[in-house]
Amino acid sequence: MNCPVCGAEHFSVPGGGKAAPAGERLCPYQGVPYTGLRAGHDQIYFGRWRRIDASTIDLRRAYHQLERLLNGIAVALETEDIPAARSDLGKAVEALHTAGPGEDGPEALRYLDHALSYAHRVIGDLLHEKGLPPHSPADFAGWYDAGEVPFREDW
């Protein structure tokens, strides 16, 4: 079930539990700037399509999720003057189109991964303009069925 706050599919409490003690859903993204973009990014980042046993359906789903994420980013960028981010968004769209909606195999995976990386950088640019640190999926890994917790390295 999609979270009513951020729209992503994540656990309702961190660590894989299905519900908070009082039975209500919690959202780790509640109150953070660019809630939908961060959650949309992480839903893809922790998605099944990156696993070794991913199916064609998983890849197709990731493609459409990425398409929605990039559309959301484009809307957010409309009111911002960040040329580098616009350029990266263009590269993300190009990578997504190269991956194609019905493709599978290592090439499609690689381009989807590139598109997601560019998207992450643009979200980071949007946050930087607001004076905030970049989005780190590692902070939210506990809310997903993450195969591995991403390594975080800041400089």
Partner: protein, 185 residues
Amino acid sequence: MIPLERYPKEISLRDDARVVLRPMIPEDADGLWSFLRQLPEIDKAHFHEDVDRREEVDRWAKSLDYEAVLPILAIRGDRVVGTVTLYRNKTGWKQRIGIVRILIAPDHRHLGLGTAMIREIRHLGEKVALNYLLAEVIEEQQAAVRALERMGFEKTGVYRNFVNDRKGHLHNLVVLLHPMSGLEK
């Protein structure tokens, strides 16, 4: 003219510390001097000048010319904790290439400040219509190399035993380029 209306700009680091980014002014000589003194030797290897001499830092501070050298300081409280500098040629065949140098105080590394500085310099590079940003980093500074790559810089070469530090030891030099959006058009 390089657009500087976005400064001062306040940003948060991973430890929730607030840091102000702004161009260096002559009155920053004291802060810059203190900052340079805490840097490890390897970070100062690229300087042409002897930055262990106070009069050299004073000379810099008095001769600021943002169109040629734009130092952006990261200031926490009243302390300089990082600098990113954009070097440009006003004329000639490299006038569309900006050279980037980033220095971060040792106790402010791995907090996202370096990445924030790279974002700033990308922004400024776009605003002054550069074609490329160029960064040269000693290979031992792997965190910097990875951060630059994550921000769109591409490693174009590694020159073995190419540069020497101030004690004469040789180091590998990594050259990274960032193509700007104007070039892609």
